[in-house]
């Protein structure tokens, strides 16, 4: 005996459970920001440590001179944000991998997120409100 198999002939494909693409985007971000940071950080190190006498010429005036240009402001801002988020995301995966208890994992991530927000906030604030004519 053979049953006629005509079970839901036009049944749509089952929509798969949506889980979000956060891990995908975070993985992609690590690759792109990593490449960007190679340029940004190596350029930064070259300017600060090698070019024109290197680290000995760095003083308040030097920093003020660079931040007078929106280009270097943007450079430093991008470097700060990318380095913080790139490093923070890396630490997030380390915490995910190695924290055994859910509570430990949660509190380590709270600590990490707080420190990231603090450093990014403070750095951004300084870059945009820097006053070269400050007198004490």
């Amino acid at each position: 005996m053979s049953d006629l198999v005509l079970d839901k002939p036009r049944s749509p494909r089952r929509p798969a459970a949506r889980r979000g693409n956060f891990e995908l985007y975070s993985w992609l971000f690590m690759r792109i920001s990593g490449v960007a940071l190679v340029v940004l950080v190596l350029g930064h190190l070259f300017i600060m440590n090698i070019l024109d006498g290197g680290v000995h010429r760095i003083n308040f005036g030097f920093v003020a001179g660079r931040w007078a240009s929106p280009f270097w402001q943007f450079w430093d801002l991008l470097m700060l944000w990318l380095a913080q988020i790139h490093g923070g995301n890396g630490l997030r995966t380390v915490i995910n991998d190695y924290a055994r208890k859910d509570a430990t994992r949660f509190w380590l991530k709270v600590l990490l997120f707080t420190s990231m927000v603090l450093v990014i906030g403070l750095g951004t604030y300084v870059i945009f409100t820097f006053d070269p004519n400050i007198t004490d």
Partner: protein, 260 residues
């Protein structure tokens, strides 16, 4: 039969005569008996063996002639069933596929071979581990053909080129050598692990299968393919020579470009 506390003996009685050309090697086995031990311990055995012997022969020698309580899995003993994956000299191998001559110390020095259970799975006894977490991850990726609509009246035809795409991942024997060689799996058992991803790959890239989207969604999770750190331990461990890390990368690419 009553339990006795006398010195352990093998299950097959007296030791056989030592063959010509045999060398004595030391086999260090990491052992754990849940009835007596709080912690795993190391046991050493002196074994006469031929360079053409496999590590499995050494374990048999211990079990048959020296200490019958040694516990390990093995079924076919020819690298097909995938029962005897273990850590041999620190790397995951099938005991039935590693030859003693490849482990001998150079310059006539005495040889010591260490054997441990595979890491990351709970040890039941000696080299015997609980494989259930491993198979649970395997089942979670739906490793079977999924199709919708009417069945074709004849077979599901597939071109040679389409078959070629997932040929490598059909070779998996589920021995768990790859998954238990993965440092991410050691510390975080909720990671699906290389073997589950390999078996998902086998169906995701099968032109006859229609469940790719479901499986890709499962592997897009925090415990899915993005957890892979490409350390290549799995590729090195695979006794079937599957390019495991490459398969994982292909799944990542399919997710990234939303194209199988």
């Amino acid at each position: 039969m009553t339990a006795t506390a006398e010195a352990p003996t093998g299950s097959r009685g007296a030791q056989p005569p030592v063959p010509d050309g045999a060398i004595t090697i030391t086999l260090k086995v990491r052992r754990f008996n849940p009835e007596f031990d709080d912690e795993p311990r190391w046991d050493s055995f002196e074994i006469p063996a031929l360079p053409s012997d496999r590590v499995l022969n050494l374990l048999h020698y211990v079990k048959w002639y020296l200490d019958g309580t040694l516990t390990f899995r093995r079924s076919c003993a020819h690298g097909i069933c995938g029962s005897d994956a273990m850590r041999i000299n620190g790397v995951n191998r099938l005991a039935c596929k590693v030859l003693l001559k490849d482990l001998l110390a150079g310059g006539g020095k005495p040889t010591t071979i260490t054997v441990e259970p595979i890491k990351g799975l709970p040890v039941h006894k000696d080299l015997l581990v609980d494989m259930e977490p491993f198979f649970e991850a395997y089942r979670a990726v739906k490793p079977y053909l999924i199709t919708y609509g009417n069945e074709p009246t004849r077979e599901r035809v597939q071109s040679i080129a389409d078959r070629e795409r997932f040929d490598d991942t059909t070779k998996c024997i589920l021995c768990a050598a790859c998954t238990t060689s993965c440092p991410v799996y050691w510390t975080e058992g909720s990671y699906f692990g290389p073997a589950a991803i390999v078996n998902a790959h086998r169906f995701i890239f099968d032109s006859r299968d229609e469940g790719a989207e479901e499986r890709l969604d499962i592997l897009n999770d925090v415990d899915g393919v993005w957890r892979c750190r490409t350390t290549f331990n799995c590729t090195d461990a695979c006794p079937r020579g599957i390019q495991v890390t490459k398969a994982i990368q292909e799944v990542k690419r399919a997710l990234l470009f939303k194209r199988v």
